[in-house]
Symmetry: C2
Subunit: 133 residues, 2 copies
DNA sequence: ATGCACCCTGTAGTCACTACAGGGTCAAGG
DNA sequence: CCTTGACCCTGTAGTGACTACAGGGTGCAT
């Protein structure tokens, strides 16, 4: 399968597939006589894994680690669990930040009477002093 | 005030202050005889505005727009409101994504019995086929 | 033989900084 | 007077995870 069909099968951009190869996430595939990349089912599996990991918000580095662990099937699952839990903690921190941020924004927006900028509550909320000179 | 005290007063890194100047968010200040940047209260106000905006998650481009609007005090507040509402919508979309993501992660992690990798539910959840060859 | 979709490499751009390298300035202490 | 150390300067390159070309080659159908 060519890079185009692999990309389509995994909802990935062609450039991204080449980039995964360059940074070592995806092994270099065989080449056709015309120098086209030719992928097999193992590549499809690996790229699907990568994309699913990215969709779950794992970094490329974490996915690199997860792939190495996944290849070593007799190993204990503990390290996988550790990576996943660390990531969940990270996501939960971000979630808390965003929740606070959204409520601050809602409050600021709610106060805007949409008059002139000189008494705009949104601008005021951003300004350090209530009414700058 | 020197760049160091301005940075400290606004909880900003010195490099970041210089960067805001380079990209035109902060006007170039006067210089001392030894070529040090010398800031006044107007710079402090403007940088505080920028930092507060960033803390609320506005992009630098949005802050540039907000600053231009804030400078034009007779103008209607409508554009400010539009920017803020667009940003809130963006934050809420992100929040929804992260919420879904966190629950997916919790589910995956909850299923891990921490045995060997070969029957790790986390790896399985990432793999496209239940049990790759 | 020509058009077109697809592929190749390599480089530069995105965003909002951050991290140096390699210097200059300034005030205090010896 | 000299040195030490904290601060400042410019300029460039790096971060993460791609994205967007430029400038060319390949493969297939008409």
């Amino acid at each position: 399968m060519t890079i185009g069909s692999l990309a389509e099968a995994t909802q990935t951009r062609v450039e991204t597939v080449r980039w995964y190869e360059k940074v070592g996430l995806l092994p270099p595939p065989a080449r056709s006589s015309g120098n086209y990349r030719l992928y097999g089912p193992e590549h499809l599996r690996r790229l699907s894994f990568i994309r699913r990991g990215r969709a779950l918000g794992f970094t490329v580095e974490q996915i690199r680690d997860l792939l190495a662990l996944a290849d070593d099937r007799d190993r204990s699952c503990g390290e996988v669990d550790t990576i996943a839990r660390a990531h969940l903690a990270h996501v939960e921190r971000k979630l808390a930040d965003l929740t606070r941020l959204a409520s601050e924004l809602r409050e600021v927006i709610g106060q805007c009477g949409c008059g002139s900028v000189s008494d705009c509550r949104i601008i005021e909320a951003l300004s350090p002093l209530g009414e700058p000179a």
